[in-house]
Symmetry: C2
Subunit: 130 residues, 2 copies
């Protein structure tokens, strides 16, 4: 393992579910992102706030162990609720305390992105309406 | 009210939250969709599976009362869990029993759409990574 090689890992963070198929959906999503043309992340991994593994701090640690020196955490959440505003930042603080030399950054949450309204309209049209 | 005028209402259905600001986010999203260029829905409304008003059957009723004869229900959910697979269809059955002459259709859920991986990669790039 070459700690000097650097690079950024994208860590997609979902709530986590008792239903393992929902957690698998998130892991599959991370893999899909990695296969997209022009994706330059060292890796795209999944982590969970609760109910599933890895936790966010463990997901950050695993990402850094692969040789990256930067982790971008993306909340796969739809609303700006307590999980996005308080819980995920608190988990990032735990990860930063374990890895003081790494860059651990937090991205905006999915539901807050300006492209969501258009995507929903597109989905409605694909269904044959609107 | 002219019941013959027809038209389709898009009903965006979210889980619902005790945090009213999260419910307001969904209502604002519905309004944003309605202002998009080329949006031909009679109206775009929001409804909630639980914890917030209107319920899905009430949201369908209100949509039909405005004169539409068709309601397209769009699950604003990320995973194909019990809410998407069982609970929302059960609410639609209640709405159909109340409005047997209306077309009440269910669209795919947001997280299952093929554009989501690319949107997450775009968000990461906008943050300055990947």
């Amino acid at each position: 393992m070459d700690k000097n090689k650097g690079g950024t890992v994208l860590l997609v963070v979902a709530h986590g579910s008792r239903r393992e198929s929902s957690n698998e959906e998130v892991r599959a999503l991370a893999q899909q992102i990695q296969t997209l043309e022009g994706c330059n992340f060292t890796a795209v991994n999944a982590a969970f706030l609760e109910l599933a593994e890895p936790s966010i701090p463990d997901g950050v640690s695993q990402s850094l162990e692969s040789g990256a020196d930067r982790v971008l955490v993306m909340p796969y959440f739809l609303s700006r609720g307590r999980h996005v505003v308080e819980d995920i930042p608190a988990e990032l603080d735990k990860a930063r305390a374990k890895h003081p030399d790494a860059e651990i950054e937090l991205c905006g949450y999915l539901g807050g992105h300006g492209a969501i309204p258009q995507l929903l309209l597109t989905m409605a049209r694909e269904h044959g309406a609107g």
